[in-house]
Every structure is written in structure tokens, then in C-alpha cells.
Amino acid sequence: MSKDQKNMREKLERLSNSLADEIDAMTDEEFESELEEASEDLIDIANRTRTLINNAMDNIGRQKLISARAGYEQHKSEDHDNILQWSHERKQKLIHQFSQDDNDFEQKLTLAARNEGDTESDIDSIIEDLIELGIIDDKGNLI
């Protein structure tokens, strides 16, 4: 920045800041009286500014909501990749696929179901065992 340019920028900034300081320094009565003297309507200025601010805040709120929703959707899709986040039915289906060629395993599952033990936690426990044994990964893929 040239010296001249910097000088002009600083001049303008000092004037602007000085005006802003004066607005802060005025009492409510002084400020109101100056607007009146200038034939400006306080309520009209306030209403226009309130509308501007409310619209801006609504837009900011909408943007936040959109961004939160996108984050949630991403989280949800990531979660659904994990086998433990699958629906109960989907997990059962997977487990029964494994048991088709394994009579012992099938019998255990049937027994568990008969004893009303085929609960979400039982299924999860079986899945965790399968992952630990290195049979499937946490996405439900055969290893």
C-alpha cells in the first residue's frame, strides 16, 4: 500500500470510528432528539432494522439447520455401514445365512429363539463373536 493510500484509508477510518463513538456516547434522549431534529422517524428506522436483523437471523438459522441435517444424514449413513447399527431383522438374516451350513449353529439359534433369547443383545453378541473370530468385518462382509 502506498503511503498516500494508507494515509487516506486511515483518515476515513478515523472519521468513521469517531462517528460510531459519538453514537455510543449519546444518551437515549440525545439520540432520539437528534433524529427528531433531522426529521427522521425512530420507529421507522427501528422497524426496518429489526426486519433486516430478523431476516438475517432466520437465514443463519436455516443455514445451521441445513448444515446440521447434512451432518446427521452423513452420520446416519456412516452408522448404517456398521453392522451393529443394522436393523434387528437385517442382523438376523445375516446370522441365519451363516447358520445354513452349520447344523450346530442353527440348533443353537433355534434354541435361543425358542427360549425367547433371540434378542437384540444376543444377536449383537453373536455378531461381535463373528467379528472377533475374524469371520466377518464390522461392515458384515465375509473376510
Binding site: M1, S2, D4, Q5, K6, M8, R9, K11, L12, E13, R14, L15, S16, N17, S18, L19, A20, E22, I23, D24, D28, F31, E32, E34, L35, E37, A38, E40, L42, I43, I45, A46, N47, R48, T49, R50, L52, I53, N54, A56, M57, I60, G61, K64
Partner: protein, 199 residues
């Protein structure tokens, strides 16, 4: 090693959340809104932004919870928004008037950096910024051409003079000074000379 955890803790608990700040803003009085509007008019010149845009940008930054500017609970939110506008305006003026890249002067001072892409404005942009500041100042002086007392206040404020120094340059009583200052304020807050960067 210094422990900053307490500072972090204190700064997080002593500021309004976005929801709280929004609620504070919604309960502003008419006069608070009017003051903010006038402050935006005072602070926008030379930024390349319209006053309303400056106010909206300040709101956006104040309500942004991560990486924004948080309003301390012991500060009046209306004053805080005014200060955010002031800070944005200062940075915007600096951005607009960034230095002309060294490579454009024809002097080889930057070495290998000379060939790297530069986001700085072109010489033409820098020249426009230069002229525009000059034009705003010219317009300001023109506005008060027939009012030497008001003109002295404009010049004094731009130079950062005290009221006594201004009165020394243009002899006037305290009462005349106050009245002239009011004339300046009233005119500029009604309509600051249009910023040519916005035309």
C-alpha cells in the same frame, strides 16, 4: 509450560450461546435497532460494503458458534454488534487497499515468490481503491464547503485531532463546536457520501 485450560474454560462459560444472543437481540428496544442502523452507516464507508451488508455480516459472525466472535455476557449485545461491525470494517478496508504486488513495480525484490500466484489485487484494482478513498474524502470536504466549522471538524477527525486542536484551527466557542459537530453527525449519518466502490 503455561496452562491455558482455565482460560479456555472461562471463555467458554462467560459468553452468550448463539441461542441466548439471538434472544437478547430479539429483545432490543427500538432505539437499540436505530443506533445499530446508524452505526452501520458510519462504519461502512471505504469497506466496499453497504451498511446493511455490514450489519448482516456482523450478525453472522456473532451467531456463528464455532470460529465466530462470541459476545461476553458482561457486554451489552448491541454494543458488541457495533464493535464487530467496526472490526469487520477495519479488515475490509485493509483488504480493499492491500499492497500492490512487488512484481508489478518492475523491481525484482521478491525472487522466486515473484512467479507464484498472488491473490492481491491487480494494479488497476489498487489504483481504483486509491482513487476511491480520495474521492470519498473529496466528497466529504465538498459536502461542507460552505460550512468552515463543520469542515474543520471533518478534517480534525480524519487527522485524529482533539476538540481543542480543531478549535485552534478554526476558532469557535465550545457551543459553536458542539453545534457544528451535530451538523456533521446529522449529515453523515443521514447519508455518508456514496462509496464509489459500491456504484
Amino acid at each position: 509450560m503455561e496452562d491455558f485450560s482455565q482460560i479456555e474454560f472461562a471463555s467458554n462459560t462467560d459468553v452468550f450461546s448463539a441461542t441466548e444472543l439471538r434472544s437478547e437481540i430479539e429483545s432490543f428496544r427500538d432505539i437499540d435497532y436505530a443506533r445499530l442502523s446508524k452505526k452501520a452507516i458510519a462504519l461502512a464507508p471505504g469497506t466496499g460494503m453497504e451498511p446493511n451488508d455490514l450489519l448482516q455480516e456482523a450478525l453472522f459472525r456473532a451467531l456463528k458458534e464455532k470460529g465466530g466472535r462470541n459476545c461476553p455476557c458482561n457486554v451489552n449485545p448491541a454494543i458488541f454488534l457495533g464493535n464487530v461491525m467496526r472490526s469487520i470494517a477495519t479488515h475490509a478496508r485493509l483488504d480493499w487497499a492491500r499492497e500492490v504486488p512487488a512484481c508489478t513495480t518492475g523491481e525484482d525484490e521478491s525472487g522466486p515468490i515473484e512467479n507464484t500466484p498472488d491473490s492481491a489485487p491487480s494494479p488497476e484494482e489498487a489504483t481504483i481503491a486509491h482513487l476511491d478513498y480520495g474521492r470519498i474524502i473529496d466528497r466529504l470536504e465538498e459536502m461542507f464547503r460552505d460550512d468552515p466549522k463543520a469542515q474543520a471538524i471533518i478534517i480534525g477527525d480524519m487527522e485524529g485531532w482533539t476538540p481543542d486542536e480543531i478549535r485552534e484551527m478554526e476558532p469557535m466557542s465550545t457551543k459553536e463546536y458542539d453545534t457544528a459537530r451535530k451538523r456533521v453527525r446529522r449529515s453523515l449519518l443521514r447519508e455518508f457520501p456514496e462509496d464509489p466502490t459500491n456504484e
